[in-house]
Amino acid sequence: MKKISYLLIIVLCIGILHSCSDEFLNVPNNENLTDSSFWQTKEHALQALTATYGAMHSASGSKWAFFEEVYTAMAYRADDVTNNTGETYSRSLASFSNTTEDTGPYNIWQSSYAGIGRANQIIQRIPEMQALSQVDKNTIVAEAKFLRALYYFWLVTGFENVPLVTTYETELDRLFVSQTTPDKIWEQIEKDLAEAEPNLLTEHSSEWKGRATQGAAKALLGKAYLFQEKWSQAEVKLGEVTGMGYSLLTNYADNFNGAAENGNESIFEIQFSGDRANGNDERQVFNFQVSPYAFGGWELFYPSDWLVEEMKTDLTTGGEISERVYESIFFDDPNSEMYSRDADAVVAYSAVSSDLNHPKYFKKYAFNQDVSFYNGTNIALIRYADVLLMYAEALNENGKTDQAIIEINKVRERGKAAPLGTMTQSQLRDQIRHHERPVELAMEFGIRWFDLYRWQRGSTATESIKTTLENHNKPFVENFQDKHILYPIPLQEININTNLKPNPGW
């Protein structure tokens, strides 16, 4: 009996201690909001929107991925830039010997789709939120559509054959999408921008500067029309932008030194900040990347020989090299000078020429507006000078060459270059393609290569990309094949999603 009562006590004890209550296994989640606790307040909506903009800094948000992968992959194939071959970033893209596994295009792919996925979440979830006014809903959804259009623009101009994803899916087996035709992507871009435009604000309050505006949507739509040679629609849309109160900055250099962020010439910028509080790091690294070793920079890339020679022909009425050229490049010229980070002073070329590793450098973004290390200076995606040049291009293709010259001369005049005289339509076309745009917009984010891309594919094409590159002495142009016009569909992505087909030739 005693034994049994012993046993009973023990069993009871164990029973009590191990009353296998499932409550014990329900551990609170203290670290994350979940799908059911998010999407409740206006703040949540704005956080989601912030994250959607954030993808412009690359999928990981890293300043290195932004510059060393995304920027270089967009810029290095073009004829205005020569990369420093001592550095490996996008080196194989620049020498047209990249493989399908190259990480630059993959980063563009990932960043764009990360942004699209976030925009899709907003477009799906915001309309059903109780906490937002209709106006807020409309504005936020419009911005998401603008961003989705921008991300698709990067994809369609880089890869052409990409999947069209317009809903955010959470079921694993629905993620293995197939590609659609480029036409369908362009259609979506136009649709999103057209829907976004009326709901976007023309201007944001001081604390929200940097969010997309109506002007940005019009300009991007105009640009999308140009890529499709929809000249008349482009003329209309870009013409609308010229009536919105934008203007060119007096000083060309202020576009790149942080002095006029989100200012009069700004249509849309990728925002960066020097703020380091709360563990934040949203800076960009151009100041180091463009600066010579001798100034403490990394000199990852240089202006090409062709660009410098072309720039030397951009003259004032007095026959001197124009201000916009002096503010764009640092080169062997008695008047050329550049900000040196090392010296924290502007230094004349002649004073440092013997220390320089390379004869010419870009100056854009080299200046440290905020003094600490990397930069908080924004990078322009579309600025008003670009809009005027695109508008001029549309006008010229629509047979309004004289009017086009007037628009171009506004840009030239601000850069202190002598106005153009009379030209024929085809002369002006060449002037725009091989002088005005590369001189005004040299090395700027996502400009030159994509210009070359669109000019070789439509009815107004005069020469192949390869011919342009050959004429402009692009190194390794002998490796260029038609397949290099597009990025390869990243092998990393095909490895996962076997529904994807490689791009032609890859």
């Binding site: 046993l7 023990i10 004890c13 191990h18 296998c20 296994l25 551990v27 989640n29 670290e31 994350n32 909001l33 979940t34 799908d35 704005l46 956080q47 912030t50 994250a51 954030g54 412009m56 999928a59 071959t85 001592g86 490996t88 080196r91 010997s97 493989t99 399908t100 596994e101 990480t103 990932q110 789709y113 699209i116 899709n120 694993l172 993620l175 999408v177 001081s206 604390e207 940097g210 969010r211 962020e261 925002q271 960066f272 900040s273 020097g274 703020d275 380091r276 180091f288 070793y293 100034f295 403490g296 980070r341 220390d355 390379h358 003094v371 992505e493 490895n495 996962i496 999603n497 076997t498």
Partner: protein
């Protein structure tokens, strides 16, 4: 200072030695009473109840008393005394002229009565049906070390211990039977019955280690046992007067720096050639050479380290209470600048017997405190951060390191040489971890009746960590400026407790032996951390966050997990011939949603002791026991709350600035970045094990062999999803299957006890091979093994192959002339002197389709060989260890073969030129137009090696010489670790680079292993 310390110690030991050798003389007589003490050889604990008889007259005899003392009368000096004690080797001593005979008895390791640790208990080795290895802890403890896991390397078949980094205090990578999952492969460590962190346990405190290799052994730990279990118990007291054991050693460590980089003249020569070969103007610094320094950065980075370890323990007790108290100190001064490590350990274990020995209460308390100054090392896979060692090796020799005129003593690079002074930055920057670990344990064992007993156990582990990072202001050029002193501190605490309750029933009915265990267990783990940083402190002398005047940041984590389980085990044998064991465990885990919370795991195993059969008569075999087992195990080593649809928030990825000015406000972003995975459930591994235990020639040779085949299903994998989904954080899903099979063999030969001489040899050999049978979505391949950032991937994992195989271009010699290049036809940018890469698929193009699988970092087999010998009072042990058939991608070499602005390998002096064609080093070409450094077989090397891991010679001072001083045993020894390594690998060390799962064998420049010489002493009182 260091040298002086060593000298003092040596003098002390020499004095002690002289004292004991020449100190005493004895007188002898016939018909005397011999007195003495019998103790356990290893610990010096007295042995009560030892039978002492006179040889040839076994009826005359005596027993030792409670303190191990005895006295016996003998007739003449030719009498031989025989000392017998169960479980110990019987010893015979010729009396001779002695009157005091103190004897140490050796535990009989060969005894089939040996007991091994199993889950929640012990089992006789002879009854084992599972693949369990009981580690010979004394052998291991002979080799001094700060970390027990490191010394297990090569000692146990099937246990793979790889050094991820040679940094002092760094944790090795432990794998039981290779890789059973792509997930976390760490085994479960159970310390005194409670899961814990072995790295905090002083090796000197360890009493026993068991390695549970197969499922049947480990099922009792169900949910977390799929990577195997390592059970450790710490030393407990034995009855008797207080016994003091002191173990001390001092040692020196040095790095064998076999990476040769160019000096200034070689650098200039190589780089000028590189620029000339592509027709570019050389950088100005190459032509103004003479004005610059010619620094040896690596030499300034490395230093010789001094290491010391001192342990003391006191144990003893009365009939009812026994105790073991120990304290230890370990310090290593680090082999690279500004690193060191020290640890203080203490432990008190007690056993209190109550209720007429029916109840035993066993409290235990241990505390460890560590301080580590370290450098940052990237050991994991994925995006590769840059190794600090590569950074050192790639510094231009032209840059000066020191500058007596600068405020901090370090040089800012001269104009034109770029930025950075990693020596200066390393010396000025403090990265300090101060960690504390407290283990509290209380166990109770109550004998009820009829072989039924109840066990209670509660264990609490508290780990407090503090990380301190301080960087003073410095200016080493524009790219290497820290404008203001920066301080970051993080405190974290992990509290985990385990509660076990078990009932055990052991009963024999005739030939039927039963052992039944049932129990329940609960566990909770709570992690909290809080940290802050400030990027501007008012002065380098101020190191407190509250003084910060710059941007402040704060961060912290807060999560917990729970586990509750019931389990049972039945062991049965019939007539010591047929053994059956069955176990089951049901686990509930908070890491899964309520519908998948519970998992049930079970196993059965069988053994047949053929040697106990009546029909079995063999002079050769003393033991022959085939075994079989099958069982299932789980794995839940995943982050918490993954089953919820979590919203990602904040951080560099999602935040974005808005507003005016260049330093506009940064807003916090939040949105879903991963997929909800509500259905994730237990990963499960089913293992079949077939083994045999052999004893030959009176168990002089003992061997065991095991074959295993483990199939992991529903493997929890961070599944790569298409980028098109917008998902940037891979969701964890049960998306993989894996097979892992292999075998293990170990054998020991122990010689007879010759007069003055005995020896034993142990060899072990093991192999495992894994194969992915499902990974993520169909056809998925995973790329890893990046050399820098996310560039230069070298490995690929896909269905049908091993985890992390090298996937590379095939380099096939050097083009000697343009005709060869034209004939090859697929490398348009090549020039004579460049590497030829094979167009594997022959499609006339060199692209990704031409990459090939070329083996992996996992060896074909690995082995260890230990030889122990004793001659008179000398003992020697020699331990070899090695691997065969593993490949290493020499990322260090690849990096030092680049021709950008950094320094390069001095090999490049011998690069191909039209005049120097008899070389395997491609031409120097700035910008590398042929991409010679692409991931290719050129940098893949054979990582097989054979290492003399340690060699030890010991001398025990004769018992007679120390019988008059209150010391029962003194042993002095000298050890050399890592004395030599035979390998074809040209990099630092073939034993490194094993940190990650998908990037095993990728050498990105890790903290190299050190060679050390040790001098130590063991004293028992």
């Amino acid at each position: 200072m260091k040298a002086k310390k060593r000298k003092t110690n040596t003098i002390f030991l020499l004095t002690l030695l002289g004292f004991t050798l020449f100190g005493f003389a004895n007188t002898y007589a016939q018909n005397v009473v011999i007195t003495g003490n019998v103790s356990e050889n290893s610990s010096g604990s007295p042995l009560p109840g030892v039978t002492i008889t006179i040889k040839g007259n076994e009826t005359q005899g005596t027993q030792t008393d409670f303190d191990g003392n005895y006295s016996i009368e003998v007739s003449d000096s030719q009498t031989t005394l025989v000392y017998r004690y169960l479980g110990f080797v019987t010893k015979e001593v010729l009396v001779g002229n002695q009157t005091i005979i103190n004897i140490g008895l050796e535990e009989d390791a060969q005894s089939l009565g040996e007991v091994v640790l199993v889950g929640y208990g012990t089992q006789k080795k002879s009854e084992l049906t599972a693949a369990i290895t009981s580690v010979n802890i004394e052998e291991i403890q002979k080799i001094p070390t700060a970390d027990i896991a490191t010394s297990l390397q090569g000692q146990v078949a099937g246990l793979n211990v790889a050094i991820a980094s040679g940094a002092p205090g760094s944790a090795p990578v432990i794998r039981i039977r290779g890789m059973g999952t792509v997930n976390n492969n760490d085994p479960l460590f159970v310390i005194d019955g409670v899961p814990g962190d072995l790295s905090y346990v002083n090796p000197a405190d360890i009493e026993n280690i068991s390695i549970l290799r197969d499922a049947s052994a480990a099922t009792i730990y169900g949910s977390r046992a799929s990577n195997g279990v390592v059970i450790v118990t710490t030393k407990r007291g034995k009855r008797g007067d207080p016994r003091v054991v002191v173990n001390s050693y001092i040692s020196t460590h040095s790095i064998d720096d076999n990476i040769k980089v160019a000096n200034r003249a070689q650098h200039d020569q190589i780089k000028l050639e590189a620029y000339a070969n592509v027709g570019e103007t050389p950088a100005p610094y190459l032509t103004n050479g003479e004005q610059y320094a010619d620094s040896d950065w690596a030499d300034a980075y490395y230093k010789n380290a001094f290491e010391q370890k001192h342990d003391i323990s006191v144990s003893g007790g009365s009939e009812n209470t026994t105790y073991n108290f120990s304290a230890g100190y370990f310090a290593n001064s680090g082999t690279v600048i500004n690193t060191d490590f020290n640890r203080f350990n203490t432990r008190l274990n007690m056993d209190i017997k109550l209720l007429n020995n029916r109840l035993k209460i066993s409290p235990g308390l241990a505390y460890a405190k560590e301080k580590r100054r370290s450098i940052f090392e990237p050991l994991d896979g994925g995006n590769a951060s840059f190794s600090p060692f590569l950074n050192i090796y790639s510094q231009l020799p032209h840059k000066a390191i020191y500058d007596a005129n600068s405020l901090n003593g370090f040089a800012t690079p001269a104009t034109g040489l770029g930025s950075g002074n990693p020596i200066g930055q390393g010396e000025l920057t403090d990265r300090i971890d101060r960690d504390e670990y407290t283990q509290f344990n209380i166990a109770a064992d109550l004998k009820l009746f009829d072989g039924l007993s109840y066990q209670f156990q509660y264990g609490l582990n508290v780990e407090n960590e503090h990380f301190f990072f301080f960087q003073p202001a410095f200016n080493f050029g524009p790219q290497s400026i820290n404008e203001d002193p920066f301080l970051s501190e993080t405190r974290s605490r992990t509290t985990s407790w385990t509660l076990n309750n078990t009932l055990n029933y052991v009963k024999t009915f005739g030939d039927h032996d039963f052992d039944i265990l049932v129990g329940g267990s609960k566990e909770e783990n709570v992690f909290n951390s809080a940290g802050g940083s400030n990027n501007r402190l008012p002065s380098d002398a101020i190191q407190a966050l509250s003084a910060g005047i710059g941007d402040a940041s704060s961060f912290g984590r807060n999560f917990s997990s729970t586990l509750q389980s019931v389990f049972g085990r039945l062991s049965y044998d019939y007539a010591n011939r047929y053994y059956v064991q069955a176990s089951a465990r049901r686990d509930g885990s908070s890491r899964f949603s309520s519908k998948n919370q519970y998992g049930t795991f079970y196993s059965v195993s069988l053994g047949w002791a053929v040697h106990n059969e009546n029909f079995f008569k063999s002079d050769l075999f003393t033991q022959l026991k085939p075994r079989f087992s099958y069982g299932t195990l789980g794995n839940q080593l995943i982050p918490n709350h993954l089953f919820l649809a979590r919203i990602g928030s904040g951080g560099q990825q999602l935040n974005y600035p808005f507003g005016e000015d260049v330093t506009q406000a940064i807003l916090s972003g939040a949105i879903a970045t991963s997929l909800p995975t509500p259905d994730i459930r237990w990963e499960e591994t089913a293992t079949t094990n077939v083994g045999i235990d052999l004893g030959l020639l009176d168990n002089r040779i003992k061997a065991s062999f095991d074959y295993f085949n483990a199939k992991t299903t529903d493997m929890l994998v961070f599944t790569k999803v298409p980028g098109t989904s917008g998902i940037t954080t891979d969701p964890l899903t049960n998306a993989g299957d894996l097979e892992n099979k292999g075998w293990e063999f170990s054998a020991t030969y122990s010689s007879k006890q010759y007069k003055d001489f005995s020896f034993d040899v142990t060899a072990n050999l093991s192999t495992s091979k894994n194969k992915i049978t499902k990974l993520g979505v169909e056809g998925e391949a995973r790329t890893d093994g990046f050399i820098e950032f996310n560039n230069f991937p070298t490995t690929r994992t896909e269905v049908g192959g091993e985890i992390g195989r090298f996937y590379l271009f095939e380099a096939n010699g050097i083009f000697q002339n343009q005709a060869e290049i034209d004939a090859h036809g697929v490398q348009p940018d090549a020039a004579p002197g460049d590497l030829r890469f094979t167009d594997v698929n022959g499609d006339g193009e060199l692209n990704d389709d031409d990459k090939k699988y070329m083996g992996s970092g996992l060896p074909d087999f690995e082995y260890g060989l230990t030889l122990n010998a004793t001659y008179k009072n000398f003992d020697v042990s020699i331990f070899f260890q090695g691997t065969q058939g593993n490949k290493i991608y020499n990322g260090v070499k690849m990096w030092l073969y680049r021709t950008d602005r950094n320094n390069v390998s001095s090999d490049l002096v011998n690069a191909w030129t039209p005049q120097n064609t008899n070389t395997n080093i491609p031409r120097n070409a700035f910008g590398d137009p042929n991409n010679n450094i692409r991931p290719s077989s050129y940098f893949l090397e054979d990582g097989s090696y054979l290492r003399l891991k340690n060699l030890q010679i010991g001398y025990s001072i004769p018992e007679s010489a120390i019988s008059k001083i209150p010391v029962s045993r003194i042993r002095v020894y000298a050890t050399a670790n890592n004395l030599f390594t035979i390998t074809d690998y040209s990099g630092f060390d073939p034993g490194l680079g094993n940190g990650g799962t998908f990037n095993r064998g990728v050498d990105r420049g890790f903290y190299p292993l050190t060679r050390s010489f040790i001098f130590g002493i063991n004293v028992s009182m």
